[in-house]
């Protein structure tokens, strides 16, 4: 297996981008990544696009071909593949690109992720998001996507004593980070009261416990590690890639306070990298809800089970904490254009490891991690990155 | 003809209630006085996810829990209602599946205003008595509608009861039945119309009273029984006034009608009314007790029944399902706005 490096990253602004169509977003992120990598289009050998539900958000399937077409690379007839695993679509597209380069099938690969969510009503948008859960046995019975995470939160509070305030602290921290990220959807700090007084969505989760609906796209350029220096002085190596599955329905999990797929994917990625959790300096985790980040930082092994809330409250996941979590603002503040999210996480980690994260730069960041979740934990993709 | 009777029964009433004062407040009516006149202190309101089918299912399941009958031995199932959720597509098929009686049985929905449930009981008696089926299920259930501001709004409620009719191990024998039917348009709902219309005071003397009196008298004449021979009497109860008056005119005492008079607490459950009244009576009846019951359906007709409680009642598992008293205990009272939302009288614009 060949070593793989990221030689370019690109990201659009995230938010309610009324002027931008799906294709405009996809091309925007791709162009900026290609520019960052200083490559020409004719060098691109393959395209992988992470996207959850263009078919329902904009009634457009076949978006691999669409992005290849509008980015002008379809003229060279390169293979373009759309990858879908709900919220983990972007992370999974990255893994497909990684495998394509690692296996020597391709040299230069573009991995993109995009979602255009605001062309449908809020009601339609939440219906589409709920399709990441089990339609027949969760959604049809009245469960919303938020309510399934609320079930996790209720149980986590019951089993581990996690407090309502600790959940709020996740949002407060991620807004603090997002305020430092010029691409973030929400660039203002909030306090606990803002979270605790926001309208209830599904008890105990309130509006400020939930990531927003967003438009946006992100892209990274991958190439064999050996030739990475030809394109950039600051390549970042992908040193581990892990993917795992679990039951689609939350009710079939052994423990709803644990995402077993996060644990398995993390173990696989760490094993490939030959590292342990202690080596990770900065992590982008899938905080689509505040409870998700608490569960994630436990299952990633940063903190023991049940201590994620306390660790957050104590500031251990802040920019200057033991492990800086969601320096971009996370899904909560940076925004969550579903298919783009997993790729945007990689963009942030690459920026951190290159030392170009500006005001939100984590000092001496050497190893970074991304954790991207599909559904309520049925698919998890974990990647590890290292500064070269 | 075999002797037939009730093998088991089950009832169901929704959890929610509204009081007449709450309705009157909205329409500029003295609701308290209205309630007093109707002898209704509250009426049941179905939750937004309830309809005649869910009520029928719940009643039928309560019925099945009380007996050891194999649902596959049920040969017929009829649901009587004036509020079937579908104009075309039977309610009974869902009930039959829900109690696992399908597919070897006949199913149909009945409609005869408020006596559709008792008409179903008569049909079941015929099938079982004639030996065509071993067991048959008759259900009377409704989520009746009263137009906003109409007098019916103070009474039209929801509930239902189910009866398993058979020839063996009966807890009560159905000794006789008699019906009295004429064409009398006192209350109707045209196809496609949301709310029924009624003839106001025309629903009284020429409709309810004439038919219930004739049905009751006809049964007494045919059986040679007299009112004092009965322990209990149940009459259709669109309000508290009508059954009280008709009982008196036929010669029944308030002691005889008390157990089966539910309308003061739950309102007029239409097709559920006499079936629920009978269920309440069976909740407390003892072997040897005799029950007289007359159902009324607008349009118009009455079904009268002569019932005797058997020794089987002593070992009947009443407590396997909630009794009427338990079903009516600790309801949740709602305001008119919630009621209007639950009943679809106000609705959100949707995409």
């Amino acid at each position: 297996m060949r070593r793989v490096a990221v030689i370019g990253v690109g990201i659009t602004e995230f938010g309610e981008l009324w002027d931008s169509s799906f294709r405009k977003l996809g091309i925007g992120a791709g162009l900026s990544a290609v520019g960052d990598a200083k490559i020409t289009a004719d060098k691109i050998e393959a395209l992988f696009v992470g996207n959850m539900s263009a078919g329902r958000f904009i009634r457009q399937e076949h978006v691999g071909a669409l992005i290849a077409d509008y980015s002008g690379i379809a003229r060279d007839n390169i293979p373009a593949t759309r990858v879908e695993a709900a919220g983990a679509s972007g992370g999974l597209a990255l893994r497909q690109g990684f495998m394509a380069v690692a296996s020597s099938l391709h040299d230069i690969v573009v991995v993109g992720g995009a979602e255009k969510m605001t062309d449908v009503s809020d009601v339609e948008s939440s219906l589409i998001q709920s399709s990441a859960a089990d339609q027949e046995w969760e959604t049809e019975l009245g469960a919303t996507f938020a309510s399934l995470h609320a079930l996790m939160a209720t149980r986590h509070m019951h089993d581990h004593g996690t407090t309502r305030e600790q959940l709020a602290d996740v949002a407060v921290k991620n807004h603090r980070h997002g305020a430092l990220n010029p691409k973030a959807q929400f660039r203002r700090e909030i306090n606990r009261d803002v979270v605790l007084r926001s309208p209830m969505v599904a008890s105990p989760l309130r509006v400020f416990d939930c990531a927003p609906s967003s438009d946006g796209a992100a892209a990274v350029i991958l190439c064999p590690f050996d030739i990475a220096k030809k394109f950039t002085d600051s390549p970042v190596e992908i040193i581990g890639s892990g993917q795992a599955s679990d039951s689609l329905g939350l009710h079939h999990r052994k423990d709803i306070c644990t995402m077993a797929a996060t644990r398995a994917a993390t173990q696989r990625a760490l094993k490939m990298a030959g590292l342990s959790q202690k080596d990770v300096d900065v992590a982008e985790v899938h905080d689509n809800y505040t409870i998700s980040e608490i569960i994630a930082i436990e299952d990633l092994g940063f903190f023991p089970k049940g201590e994620g809330g306390k660790a957050t409250e104590d500031g251990l996941t802040s920019l200057d904490g033991d492990v800086a979590v969601n320096t971009s603002g996370g899904l909560k503040a940076r925004g969550d254009p579903i298919g783009a999210t997993g790729v945007a996480q990689a963009v942030e980690i690459v920026s951190q490891l290159r030392g170009t994260a500006d005001k939100r730069q984590v000092k001496d960041a050497d190893v970074g991690l991304t954790q991207n979740v599909g559904g309520t934990g049925a698919t998890v993709v974990v990647h590890l990155f290292r500064r070269v | 003809m075999k002797d037939v009777g009730v093998v088991s029964y089950g009832a169901y009433v929704p959890h929610f209630r509204i009081v007449p004062e709450e309705i009157g407040k909205v329409w500029g009516v003295d609701g308290k006085a209205m309630g007093k006149g109707l002898m209704i202190s509250s009426k049941s309101v179905p939750a937004p996810d309830e309809d005649t089918i869910t009520i029928a299912v719940e009643a039928a399941r309560n019925m099945m829990r009380r007996c050891a009958v194999d649902p596959k031995d049920i040969g017929a199932l009829y649901v009587g209602s004036e509020s079937h959720p579908y104009a075309v597509k039977p309610s009974g098929t869902i009930v039959a599946e829900a109690i696992e009686a399908a597919p070897d049985l006949t199913v149909a929905d009945f409609e005869f205003a408020c006596k559709a449930g008792t008409a179903a009981i008569q049909a079941c008696m015929g099938l079982v008595g004639g030996g065509l089926v071993k067991y048959a299920v008759a259900i009377g259930a409704d989520t009746s509608q009263g137009a906003p501001g109409d007098a019916l709004e103070y009474s039209a409620s929801a509930g239902g009861a189910a009866f398993l009719i058979g020839a063996q191990d009966v807890i009560a024998t159905m000794d006789n039945t008699y019906s009295y039917t004429t064409d009398t348009p006192d209350f109707w709902r045209r196809e496609g119309q949301r709310y029924p219309r009624h003839g106001g005071r025309f629903t009284g003397e020429p409709a309810y009273f004439r038919h219930v009196m004739s049905g009751g008298k006809g049964l007494l004449e045919r059986t040679g029984m007299s009112p004092e021979d009965y322990t209990y009497a149940v009459f259709h109860q669109p309000n508290g006034k009508f059954p009280t008056r008709v009982a008196k005119q036929l010669g029944f005492s308030p002691e005889q009608t008390k157990a089966g008079l539910l309308v003061p607490q739950i309102g007029n459950t239409y097709s559920g009314a006499v079936p629920l009244g009978l269920a309440a009576v069976l909740d407390e009846a003892e072997p040897g007790d005799r029950i007289f019951a007359v159902a009324y359906g607008s349009g118009a007709g009455s079904d009268a029944f002569d019932i005797t409680v058997t020794d089987e009642m002593a070992t009947f598992r009443r407590d396997a399902s909630p009794t009427m008293n338990e079903l009516m205990a600790s309801p949740k009272y709602i305001d008119y706005a919630t009621y209007a939302k639950f009943k679809g009288k106000i609705a959100k614009e949707r995409d």
């Binding site: 939440s126 046995w137 008890s203 | 089918i53 719940e58 696992e100 959100k348």
Partner: protein, 143 residues
């Protein structure tokens, strides 16, 4: 939207909580599966559909305020994960009660209610929801 067949084929499980038992390991599942996720191929031919009792206890629950539009009349409504007596867990609404009357461990039983309907002209979908069980004749929340 012609979705009647999609719901119709699940009627046994939706109406009567027909689940699945693996006679290789003895475990119960709901909804039915094709193979046992523990026994894999060893379970082939050794599984059977089983009607679950529909009684159990709340494992976790939430009061949903921002729900799907089709449930707007009920909002807020309660969604729970229920641990059935047979051991399987199932997601469903808890009705005819308030969230403040419930806690983890509250006993519930399945009942049949309308789940959704395809507008005012389409098919009505029925299925299980849960109600708190009356204990000593009383339900949670009774004075």
């Amino acid at each position: 939207m012609a979705t009647a067949p999609r719901y119709w084929r699940e009627n046994p499980s939706r109406y009567n909580m027909v689940g699945f038992k693996c006679n290789n390991c003895g475990k119960y599942y709901f909804p039915p599966r094709i193979i046992c996720p523990l026994c894999h191929r060893k379970s082939v031919g050794k599984t059977e559909p089983v009607k679950l009792k529909g009684t159990g206890a709340i494992f976790s629950f939430t009061e949903v305020h921002e729900g799907m539009d089709e449930h707007y009349v009920q909002k807020p409504y309660i969604v729970a994960m229920v641990e059935l007596e047979e051991g399987a867990k199932v997601t469903g609404q808890v009705i005819d009660c308030d969230a403040c009357d419930l806690s983890i461990g509250t006993k519930v039983r399945a009942t049949l209610r309308k789940l959704s309907e395809e507008g005012s002209a389409g098919v009505i979908h029925y299925g299980y929801k849960f109600v708190p069980v009356r204990e000593n004749g009383e339900r949670p929340g009774d004075e």
